[in-house]
Structure formats: C-alpha cells, structure tokens
C-alpha cells in the first residue's frame, strides 16, 4: 500500500496530476464525456443536463473567483473534486491521509477547505509507479525563472548583494 508524504509543491503537483487521472476515469465510468482543463479542472458533459465543471483540488477548496462568477451565471453546474480523506495520528502528531484513487465530488461552491489544510498530507496511491513518480517529483530542480528583462548599458559586475538578518534584499549599485 504505497503511501507518500507530500513535502513540496512539485510533489503536490504530481499528486494532483495523478488524482486528476482518477477523477477523469471515475467520471468516464459513469458515462460522462470529459475534457481536462489546462489549469486543473474537468468539464464533464452529460446529455440533457448542464455541463458539470469541476475544480480539482488536493487542498479541498476552490481557488479563484472565476468559479464563483461561473456559479452566479447559472449556465453550468460547478463542483469540486477532492480525494477521500482520513485524519490519522502518528507519534509526531496528526496528519491527513488522502486516497487519490477515491474521488469525492461535491456540487456547489466550496470556498473553505474541506479538511484542515494545516495538517501535513500523506497520499495513498494504489500503484507503485505512481508513488515513485510523486517521490521523484521533488528531486527535479527547475532553474529559477529569470525576473525582468536584460539590463542594457548598465554594468552590474560590481553590485553588492546585501544580506540583512538572513534575508536577501534588493541589490543596489555600489557608490
């Protein structure tokens, strides 16, 4: 029974991707036609009814105001898909065990967290390769995105980076 502790964002994203796959399968098994969103979500089409637009969230809440706006328009049904969860206890304290292969679907807006989001999360996946994929996800370090554009005509070679109480502050040119 592979259980993986989600330690960082990369692992969270991987777990979310795996969960999306299970939600997709869950809906297809029930006769829905599904379209996966580019930014996490699913449009589920059912004949004779409004489309069901699901926000997929491991955190158990809807994120942006877009979902709220869409609910107000009334043209589609809005819902949330989150994994079945259990509150577990270990020697170090409580944690949330999320079953990624058991989606729970609730219709309507859900702006508050379904479970206590401050508790550490552990995910359960039925397949070893999925557990491995999540475990590996954290080890990939992507180069940080460069902020801003190129500085033209400014020599920054003698700029100093000042550090204050362990926190990096904006660089300023030396006199």
């Amino acid at each position: 029974m592979p259980e993986i502790v989600v330690k960082n964002k990369s692992q969270g994203r991987k777990a979310n991707e795996i969960f999306t796959h299970y939600v997709d399968q869950f809906l297809k098994d029930r006769g829905y036609i599904t379209l996966l969103h580019s930014h996490g979500g699913i449009t589920a089409i059912r004949f004779g009814k409004k489309p069901l637009v699901l926000c997929i969230s491991l955190k158990g809440r809807m994120i942006s105001g877009k979902w709220e706006e869409a609910t107000k328009l009334g043209a589609v049904d809005i819902g949330i898909a989150f994994p079945r969860y259990e509150v577990m206890s270990s020697g170090e304290g409580k944690y949330i065990l999320l079953h990624l292969d058991e989606p729970v679907i609730k219709t309507g807006l859900s702006k508050t967290h379904v479970y206590n989001f401050r508790l550490p999360r552990v995910v359960y996946v039925p397949e070893d390769f999925e557990a491995e994929a999540i475990a590996k996800a954290g080890k990939i370090r992507r180069p940080r995105r460069k902020l801003g554009g190129e500085l033209e005509g400014v020599d920054i070679s003698d700029w100093k980076i000042f550090e204050k109480a362990g926190k990096q502050v904006s660089p300023s040119p030396s006199p």
């Binding site: 379209l35 996966l36 969103h37 930014h39 004949f47 004779g48 877009k66 869409a70 328009l73 589609v76």
Partner: protein, 139 residues
C-alpha cells in the same frame, strides 16, 4: 510578421499562440473561459455556454463531430462552435496561400465539417510579436 506553416510542429505551435489570443479575446467579450488541454474552451456567459474548438486547420476534429452526433441522438444538441483565425488569401509565385491572423479570432457557432478556408491551401501565420514568430520558427 509572416511565417510559413510547413510542418505539423509549426502548426501546433501556431495553435498554441492562437489559443492564448483566444483566451484573451473571449475574456474581453465577457465570457468566463475554461481552457481545455485539447485546445478547446468552455465559454460561459449569462444564461448560456458554448464549447469551442480552437482550430488553425479550419474545421472540427472527429471528437467534436462524434459528440454532436451522439448528443443529437440523445435529443439534446450541445452548442459546439469553432474559433479560427481571421484569414485572407495571397498569391506567392503563382500559388494561392491562406494567411491566418493569429491575433484576430473569429467565432462560428456551429459544427464545421468542411475546411473553412476552402480547399487545402498552404498556410501562413501572421503574428505581430517577434517572440511569437521565434516560438513558431523554433518548432
């Protein structure tokens, strides 16, 4: 800037560029947009919705045709549309090409089976930014 779409990869990258412009265009028209991974949108407006396939090729993929047929069989027509770039025709060395303006999306609110640009013309994408030009060129 114009770039000749002479490969599937370039067509795909041009579709990516077009897809982003569509998102902005639909939002500017007051739609709430849910972009899908297969380059389609669920566009929601007060009292209605529409499923739009973004297309550089100028016609609906088989999935949408099947979906429309299935919904018709179930006596409920799903509103399916197409969003394609504005286009015109140009002659280069005696051959007719279709120029696609990727920044100018056009919405058609019906299932399009036949190529909207007519017969199979070679396609040229028209972009305004160098970044988009380079992105397509690198394919």
């Amino acid at each position: 800037m114009e770039i000749f779409l002479d490969s599937e990869n370039k067509m795909r990258k041009a579709l990516c560029v077009f897809f982003n412009h569509c998102k902005q265009y639909l939002a500017s028209q007051g739609y709430i947009v849910f972009p899908h991974r297969d380059f389609s949108f669920l566009a929601v407006k007060k009292g209605g919705y529409m499923l739009l396939q973004a297309s550089i090729k100028g016609f609906h993929e088989k999935f949408w045709r099947d979906l429309r047929e299935a919904s018709a069989r179930a006596f409920c027509d799903i509103p399916i549309g197409l969003i394609h770039p504005q286009f015109d025709f140009t002659f280069i060395d005696g051959r007719e090409y279709v120029r696609l303006f990727l920044e100018k999306p056009v919405i058609k609110n019906s299932l399009i089976i036949q190529n909207i640009y007519g017969e199979e013309h070679p396609k040229i994408a028209v972009v305004s930014s160098k970044r988009e030009f380079e992105f397509i060129k690198r394919a």
